[in-house]
């Protein structure tokens, strides 16, 4: 029978091939799904993989959607590498958008074009505050960060609803739950006239470089990752796990808040109850598919952005529900996790029942080597949900 066997060394090739195999599996399942729904699978796939890159306009729209995903996923990569499970980026994104809007509404017709800077900074601060609550409760009271960060997403959504249905509602908005349209001076400069894509893309790309340096060229980044991979070793080396907790949560919260701020000061231009578009959750998948590596995340963010645009096109062109995007996102992460097994293990054909096997417990993670590329899913598990 087929058996899994621990590889002497994690396979580097597999760690790069795994996302591609996962994508292939998702495409195959997607094709079956289109056939099942009675749609031409070629047209279906074209909507997801060809249309979003077909024209200059399509490409700029792809960048507009990829920007928040990229920013949030970069922050999450730091978190997951430090074994801090922040899954509430959606909430931090929303609060970032709220803070940014609060500042944006202070603009008057006289304010200069520089005003987008404080708007975005407010977004960062908002995201950090929301993630800071998670860090505080985890640090001070040992409360599980997975559940706390997720609960805070629901709280943030209600906060947003309160503001747009209540104090921040546009008095001239025909009673729609939305704020005023923010003034031009609060808007991030656009890169080209006629396209929605703005300076946010450049900020995101700069962030990629910054995170690469942080993770692989600084002592602080090294400390974070040791704490994630081998908590005992980190303790022995005197690396503070509290510091790792706070810094990774504040970084990821700040990035999610930055994404929220950029949305407010860019494509959205006002607050509505539809601000949360699921970027915070999709970014979790982006981070894993990108191997928690800044460069990998660029590619996975683009891929996920294609899923988003493809879902919208599938709705308008094929008459399929937009939630198809969510189905594919989930499938992709499932397939990736399954394929990732082949990084640390290999398949071996073994004749069934040779001899009683000694219970050797070789749980991945116990002896996981310090290889940042395979760090993704072989993180040591920590109990306590």
């Amino acid at each position: 029978m087929l058996k899994l066997e621990v590889r002497p060394e994690p396979s580097r090739a597999m760690s790069i091939a795994s996302p591609l195999i996962a994508l292939a599996i998702t495409v195959v399942i997607g094709t079956c799904l289109f056939l099942l729904l009675g749609k031409d699978p070629l047209r279906g796939l074209a909507v997801f993989f060809v249309e979003p890159v077909k024209s200059v306009y399509a490409l700029t729209e792809l960048a507009v959607k990829a920007t928040p995903l990229l920013l949030i996923a970069l922050g999450l990569a730091v978190c997951f590498r430090s074994n801090v499970w922040n899954i509430g980026a959606e909430g931090q994104f929303i609060v970032g958008a709220l803070f940014a809007s609060g500042v944006a509404m202070q603009a008057t017709p006289a304010t200069g074009a520089w005003f987008f800077v404080p708007v975005i900074v407010a977004g960062v601060v908002g995201g950090m505050c929301w993630a800071g609550v998670v860090a505080l409760l985890r640090d001070r009271f040992n409360a599980n960060e997975i559940l706390v960060s997720l609960m805070l997403v629901y709280v943030a959504e209600q906060l947003l609803n309160y503001l747009v249905y209540g104090p921040w509602k546009d008095p001239a908005g025909y009673n729609f739950p939305q704020t005023i349209t923010f003034l031009k001076s609060t808007q991030v400069p656009k890169l080209f006239t006629g396209f929605r894509v703005n300076v946010g893309v450049l900020i995101a790309l700069a962030a990629v470089a910054a995170f690469w340096v942080l993770l692989f060229r600084t002592y602080a980044g090294f400390q974070l990752q040791v704490g994630g991979l081998a908590p005992a070793a980190a303790r022995y080396a005197g690396f503070s796990s509290r510091k790792a907790l706070w810094s990774s949560l504040l970084i990821s919260g700040g990035m999610a808040g930055l994404a929220g701020g950029l949305e407010v000061a860019g494509p959205l231009g006002q607050l509505t109850p539809h601000v949360p578009a699921g970027y915070g959750f999709a970014a979790i998948i982006v981070a894993f598919v990108g191997r928690l590596h800044p460069v990998g995340i660029v590619f996975s963010a683009i891929l996920m952005s294609m899923f988003y645009i493809g879902g919208e096109l599938a709705q308008s062109r094929l008459g399929l529900p937009k939630s198809l995007t969510g189905v594919f996102q989930g499938l992709l992460l499932f397939a990736l996790l399954a394929c990732d097994t082949l990084i640390a293990y290999r398949l071996r054909w073994k004749p069934a029942r040779v001899a009683p096997v000694a219970p050797a417990s070789a749980a991945p993670g116990d002896d996981a080597p310090l290889n940042p590329v395979v760090a993704s899913t072989s993180l040591p598990a920590r109990g306590g949900v």
Binding site: L4, V6, W85, I87, L137, F141, N142, A143, N144, I146, L147, V148, L150, M151, L152, Y154, V155, Q158, L159, N161, Y162, Y165, G166, F281, I284, I285, F288, P321, S323, L324, T325, G326, V327, F328, Q329, G330, L331, L333, F334, L337, A338, T341, A344, Y345, V357, A358, P359, A360, S361, A362, A363, P364, G365, T377, S378, L379, A381, G383, G384, V385
Partner: protein, 305 residues
């Protein structure tokens, strides 16, 4: 007085959803597996059950369909985390995200449907008693099943041999393996049962509770159920108690909204989530206490050579 009886009745009703889900997760975690996919399982089961109820008109078939859907998803999760050793947190998240997307996708054609008038349940004699009748004895049968299930699970865990083995697998899979127990198959069985229970909870939301299907309608109940197992320090009776407590908070919040209290409805809607955070903080404050009660191998993969 009448209003209080109604509130009590509603609390039992809404607590039942959490009780089923949290009891299922309790069985998982007692075997050492954390299933963060509970929310996704509940959503898929909610639409599976709702669609079944729409087409067949039978509530019981709906619960059957939901339980099967939950068991299948949990089995898929189990194969990934138990045999392929994927990270339990990441895989559970994948299940939750997939479940949210898949249920929305399948459910789109059912958004306009509404189930017909529900039968009312009424236990003869007891249901006619003043006050306690409407409060306690006119509930959906599953409300009582949840209580019976709690007793059954408590008996199973602490009084039966199989329960002892299950707990052993959760505490020390290595020892259980050395004694010759099929650790991985036991974990899978625990997951399948837990998934089915989460599925029943999901169907309860769509079929009994609201009679309709709305995208993302479980609104975090799967996550709250996960918090409940910690809150209950992995004990069945406390899970039930916690479920009613949270059911009470949800109902109180709805009642206050209905009465037009001078607080914005959004802040009232936040209450169950804030209560979850508060409870987690209070119970986790004492790290040693949690460590003593927590199944020792929780969240850790087991790979027999």
């Amino acid at each position: 007085m009448d209003q209080f009886a109604l509130l009590l009745a509603a609390t039992l009703n809404s607590g039942t959803v959490l009780a089923f889900a949290a009891l299922g997760l309790l069985i998982n975690e007692r075997a050492g597996v954390v299933n963060l996919g509970a929310e996704g399982i509940m959503l898929v089961a909610a639409i599976a059950g709702f669609a079944t109820a729409v087409h067949t008109g039978s509530d019981w078939l709906a619960f059957g369909a939901g339980a099967v859907a939950g068991a299948v998803l949990a089995a898929a999760f189990g194969i990934l985390v138990i045999w392929l050793n994927t990270n339990q947190y990441a895989t559970g998240l994948a299940l939750s995200l997939f479940g949210a997307g898949f249920s929305a996708f399948v459910g789109i054609r059912y958004t306009q449907e509404k189930l017909g008038e529900q039968h009312t349940f009424h236990i003869p004699v007891l249901g006619d008693l003043p006050f306690v009748g409407p409060a306690l004895f006119r509930q959906h049968p599953l409300v009582y099943v949840a209580i019976a299930l709690t007793v059954a699970i408590a008996w199973f865990l602490y009084r039966s041999r199989a329960g002892l083995v299950l707990r052993a697998v959760g505490e020390s899979p290595e020892s259980a393996h050395a004694l010759g127990y099929p650790v991985r198959r036991i974990r899978l069985a625990a997951l399948v049962v837990g998934g089915a229970l989460c599925g029943i909870a999901g169907v309860y939301v769509s079929v009994v509770y609201t009679h309709l299907w709305v995208e993302g309608m479980t609104a975090g109940k799967g996550w709250i159920a996960l918090a409940l197992t910690t809150f209950a320090t992995w004990r069945p009776a406390r899970v039930l108690l916690g479920a009613y407590l949270f059911g009470g908070v949800t109902m109180l919040q709805l009642q206050l909204q209905g009465e037009g209290v001078q607080i914005s409805s959004q802040f009232l809607t936040m209450l169950p989530y804030l209560a979850t955070i508060l409870v987690l903080v209070l119970i986790s404050r004492n790290a040693a206490f949690i460590r003593v009660n927590m199944p020792a191998s929780i969240g850790k993969p087991f790979f027999p050579g």
